[in-house]
């Protein structure tokens, strides 16, 4: 199976985020970036499918030059090669605009299967995979925990709400968005990191892909979230705070 995994580089989970001067995005200078965790699960699923059935795993990512480090990380974990769509204006494109870039890159490869994480940790739109399927005219399934290859295509396990699941049969080629927790994530080995340096990263310039970049949906402003409740913050040393909290839970909130 030839599998493409679409991955995204996002700000590190523990990074302190600050809104930029224009109030349109966050300050990106000095920010640590990492592989979007749901995409790490998509990559893991792809690597396991390759180990079982053979084939090739290609990672695909769009973004500025810095995205290269996240691509190398995926190559170090075992992906065979990569495609980087170089693009400095990713933030001004909407989900359809980004998916158009990825779809154009995918069309140069004709893969059997396209995987991506169910959502990104920055924008959290959860749409890229589904839009890709539409642009490529392929069937799709979302929130997938388990993928089994069959003679006629795939059988996948889809997560529903509140602890329910569903099995879906589908033909190939197809697009799946992968839910976290279906597999255990692997770490890159030293040997993997060494090998990754030799692997092919094909660069495609976004401008050369000839896709429409004009957004229909625009992120106007980024703000700090509004508080839903007034939180009493309890100061002091851990011991003082703990004692004060227990007192408040007994006397004020009356829940103990």
């Amino acid at each position: 199976m030839k599998i493409i995994v679409a991955i995204k580089q996002v700000p590190d989970r523990d990074a302190q985020l600050r809104i930029d001067a224009a109030g349109k995005w966050i300050q990106e200078s000095d920010l640590q970036f990492a592989l979007n965790e749901p995409d790490a699960y998509a990559l893991e699923e792809a690597l396991q499918l390759k180990e079982k059935h053979g084939g090739e795993v290609i990672v695909l990512s769009a973004g500025p030059e810095r995205v290269g480090t996240t691509i190398r990380e995926a190559l170090a974990k075992g992906a065979d090669r990569a495609i980087q769509v170089t693009c400095d204006d990713l933030g001004t494109r909407d989900a359809l605009g980004v998916a158009r870039l990825l779809a154009a890159a995918i069309q140069t490869e004709s893969p059997d299967l396209i995987l991506t994480g169910l959502q990104s940790e920055d924008l959290g739109l959860g749409q890229t995979g589904v839009i890709l399927a539409e642009l490529l005219n392929l069937p799709h399934a979302t929130l997938i925990l388990h993928v089994e290859k069959t003679d006629s295509g795939l059988t996948v396990k889809r997560e529903l709400e509140e602890g329910w699941f569903q099995t879906i049969e589908m033909p190939l080629p197809a697009v799946l968005t992968i839910q976290s927790g279906g597999n255990k994530l692997r770490y890159a080995t030293l040997m993997g990191i060494k090998r990754a340096k030799m692997k092919e990263v094909r660069q495609l310039a976004a401008a050369d892909l000839g896709v429409d970049a004009a957004p229909v949906v625009v992120l106007e402003q980024v703000t700090m979230p509004k508080k839903q409740k007034s939180t009493q913050m309890i100061p002091g040393t851990p011991k003082e705070a703990a004692a004060a909290l227990v007192e408040k839970l007994r006397v004020e909130a009356r829940v103990l």
């Binding site: 302190q16 920055d122 959290g124 839009i131 979302t142 508080k227 011991k239 909290l245």
Partner: protein
């Protein structure tokens, strides 16, 4: 119609009524008229429940090939309904089903779903969370096409039902059997549920901040001292540190105890929807800007490895 179409989901009546409430907010801001649609028989509950609530026109989308949900079937059905009605806005509840097919439906119109909206403001501007709830973004739709919006559970309180009648217009789309490429199976439960967090009065819940499974006994000790059930956010269960049945959130259980103590949980929306109905929420986190503090009644900013043992001692002392 050039108005607002609210699409409701059978079996998800609460969030469907919230989508209707969001539709009303949008109608108030734009002066547009409101209609509803849902897949199902005109006699099905989803139409009965919204009967008499303005709007009074509902479209019952029916076809044998969409009795079981598939993305292909629903995209085709709603594509045809939208082309017929030509609404300016289409509002959905943000359910797993909507996440599965609406981005594809919107793309078919050259549009992008503004998903998981928490508030609608004049403009209209649609607010949604960014960075797992650490920031909020306001989005604007531009151009001539229809604007697709889905609303977050709990964000738009549903209005109380009123008695009355609605005009229900049946709509039968044209769908060819071969257009549906996936074969869905019957939904099934994961494992036998032996833990019913839903009825627990006190819950101690642990998240990523615990760093490693070897640190869990420290939290269990606090739960035992309180007489509370132990629960967790998704990453803890993904790692296999606690069984999936102890997971609280959109993919796990929904809980509303008297006391919910969130330890090292940042408070991503997927977790918050499962616990924000709790009577009293306490958050312990090292990051003062963690979104969990937005819903907490009491907060302690600090190292959980120091605060949790201190809290266990304080609880034991108070019980003596």
């Amino acid at each position: 119609m050039s108005g607002i179409l609210v699409v409701q989901q059978a079996g998800r009546s609460r969030i469907s009524m919230e989508a209707l409430a969001a539709g009303r907010v949008l109608a108030g801001l734009t002066g547009l008229s409101l209609e509803t649609a849902a897949v199902g028989d005109p006699n099905s509950n989803i139409f009965v429940e919204s009967a008499g609530q303005p709007p009074s026109t509902a479209h019952a989308v029916q076809h044998p090939l969409i009795e079981n949900y598939t993305a292909d079937g629903y995209v085709l059905a709603f594509e045809q309904l939208i082309r017929k009605l030509e609404p300016s806005y289409i509002v959905f509840p943000h359910t797993y089903q909507v996440r599965d097919f609406v981005p594809r439906l919107a793309a078919r119109f050259g549009q992008v779903l503004i998903g998981d909206v928490t508030s609608i403001e004049p403009g209209p501007l649609f607010l949604r969370q960014l960075f797992q709830g650490k920031m909020s973004g306001s989005y604007r739709h531009q151009g001539d096409g229809p604007c697709f919006v889905s609303v977050q559970a709990g964000a738009f309180p549903a209005d109380p039902p009123v008695a009355g009648t609605s005009t229900i217009l049946p709509f039968t789309p044209e769908i060819a059997a071969e257009a549906i490429r996936t074969k869905p199976g019957e939904p099934f439960r994961g494992s036998a549920q032996t833990v019913d967090l839903g009825s627990a009065q006190l819950i101690v819940s642990v998240g990523r901040g615990i760093k490693d499974a070897v640190n869990l006994p420290m939290v269990q000790e606090l739960a035992t001292a309180l007489g509370a059930e132990l629960a967790a956010s998704r990453p803890i269960c993904d790692n296999g540190w606690l069984p999936m049945e102890r997971q609280v959130g959109s993919s796990g259980q929904t809980v509303a105890p008297k006391l919910y103590l969130a330890i090292g949980i940042s408070g991503a929306i997927q977790h918050l929807v499962g616990m924000k109905g709790s009577q009293c929420i306490v958050a312990i986190n090292k990051d003062p800007e963690a979104p969990i503090f937005e819903v907490a009644d009491y907060g302690i900013v600090g190292d959980l490895f120091e605060v949790v043992p201190a809290l266990t001692e304080a609880v034991k002392a108070a019980k003596q």
